[in-house]
């Protein structure tokens, strides 16, 4: 299969990107300044992320569509306002996660942002679940550009006036060079920011304007350290078919009202886990020294029993130390529980800690 390129590929090249294959796409892992500088720039200024490899699924339909989607996602979609977004999951009957996603209600349907590696499979699953009753478009004609960090609002509002009025997890249609762009105030870094869905022909022009106004291109490397510091899950690592949203410590994303009424895929398992508890759960982990515990690192308790595994671990540039997430047996999941991480044959002390590692800076109430 040929490796795909996003419409910004040339621009990445011209900015000295190092590329890596990710989910079938040639993506920039970093640029000349490197992951640590890119990470810090995003936290203090404004970083641009090409996330055009992600799926932008438009599903068109009326109230019947809303009802049918409620049988799939544990969300209160009937009461979701137009242009508002929710984080959710596509699950199997055992509540195992096929994908984590963002659902936004539009006037004539929904926009669902899917992970690149999952989008084709998600499309098949959703088509089948919806019995091909609705028009579904996995839109390859649009790029997705994220702009993240404290200076992003000013920079983007200069180019597309009005985005400053959006609240976190809401969006709207705007216009750029007479073409419609859909912008949500959201992101994956723990910073204030936006995700911009824009026609492929305009994505380079738009990105260059962001750069002219002081934003910088940031690679997938820093995207990973940023999301990990913010305690956000990465599909294929913290989440997969063998883990449920309750085990992933994401029950906040499941509508309470929907759990009381049921009637969605995975409900039985979720309801049982909410009542009886889970045997393993996702936690934050802070190593005591500088040791970095990567994915698949084994976790032990104080009596040297194997109690879990790391799912993501790196050095957090803003925390200025190692950070990790993983799954441990529930009884060892309490904050400040002392654990040991086996790295290169040696066991190093660490502690269970709260998430995020780095305080989120979302903007919630500008437009009430």
């Amino acid at each position: 299969m040929e490796i795909k390129k996003t419409p910004l590929y040339k621009l990445h090249q011209n900015n000295n990107a190092k590329f890596v294959e990710f989910a079938g796409y040639q993506m920039p892992i970093q640029y000349a300044e490197g992951i640590v500088e890119e990470h810090k720039f995003t936290r203090t200024h404004s970083g641009i992320f090409d996330v055009s490899h992600m799926g932008q699924l438009f599903i068109y339909g009326d109230n019947n569509l809303t009802e049918d989607l409620e049988k799939i996602f544990p969300l209160d979609l009937k009461n979701l306002k137009i242009n508002h977004s929710k984080y959710s999951f596509l699950m199997n009957d055992d509540a195992g996660i096929y994908d984590d996603l963002i659902v936004t209600k539009l006037e004539k349907g929904f926009l669902i942002i899917l992970n690149a590696a999952c989008k084709e499979n998600d499309f098949k699953i959703l088509s089948k679940l919806l019995n091909d009753k609705y028009e579904m478009l996995l839109d390859e004609k649009r790029s997705l550009i994220a702009i993240q960090g404290p200076k992003s609002v000013k920079i983007l509002n200069n180019i597309i006036y009005g985005v400053a009025n959006l609240n976190f997890m809401s969006g709207n249609w705007f216009s750029f060079h007479d073409q419609k762009v859909y912008i949500t105030r959201s992101g994956y870094t723990g910073e204030d920011g936006f995700e911009v869905s824009i026609l492929n022909e305009l994505s380079e022009k738009f990105t260059k304007e962001l750069i002219d106004k002081g934003a910088k291109l940031i690679g997938l490397g820093a995207r990973d350290t940023l999301r990990l510091e913010a305690g956000l899950c990465l599909y294929g690592h913290e989440l997969d078919k063998d883990k449920t949203p309750v085990e992933a410590n994401l029950k906040w994303a499941i509508s309470k009202d929907r759990v009381s009424k049921g009637n969605f895929i995975g409900f039985n398992k979720i309801s049982k886990q909410l009542n009886d508890g889970v045997s393993k759960i996702r936690v934050g982990i802070k190593p005591e020294g500088r040791i970095i515990a990567r994915e698949k690192t084994k976790i032990f308790n104080q009596s040297d029993s194997h109690i879990g595994e790391i799912t993501s671990g790196t050095f957090g540039p803003s925390v200025n130390g190692p950070v990790a997430m993983g799954y441990v047996e529930n009884e060892f999941s309490k904050k400040d529980t002392k654990i040991f991480l086996e790295v290169r044959g040696k066991k190093y002390p660490a502690n269970i800690c709260g998430l995020p590692f780095y305080k989120k800076n979302y903007v919630k109430g500008v437009n009430k």
Binding site: I29, G34, I35, V36, R290, I292, R294, P322
Partner: protein, 126 residues
Amino acid sequence: MSEVKYSKEHEWIKIDGDVATVGITKHATELLGDIVFAELPEKGSNVEKDGTAGVVESTKAASDVYTPISGEVVDINQTIVDDPSKINQDPESSAWFFKLKVKDKSEMDTLMNKEDYDKFAKESSS
């Protein structure tokens, strides 16, 4: 007599009398990216030519550091353990990794000179 030699694993080594200083090359740091963790051999331990003698980690991944020749570790550079970013800043001088009491100077003959290493580095990264 202080010619710098290079290994295929991207270490540099410089001999001064009986003592050799070892570090990783600028080329290696460019391949690794931002170094955020360094582990060095224990002082007093013996290391064997081409054996593991430490670890460096970037934000992306961990890589072993090998010793280009055999010997006893007589000194380690604690400053790079405390601040691994120094390795990116000055890899071929102040950010050396460890010093060895050389066991067999003839092992140096198996290593590359600067010209050969530069060529090797260029070829292996293209």
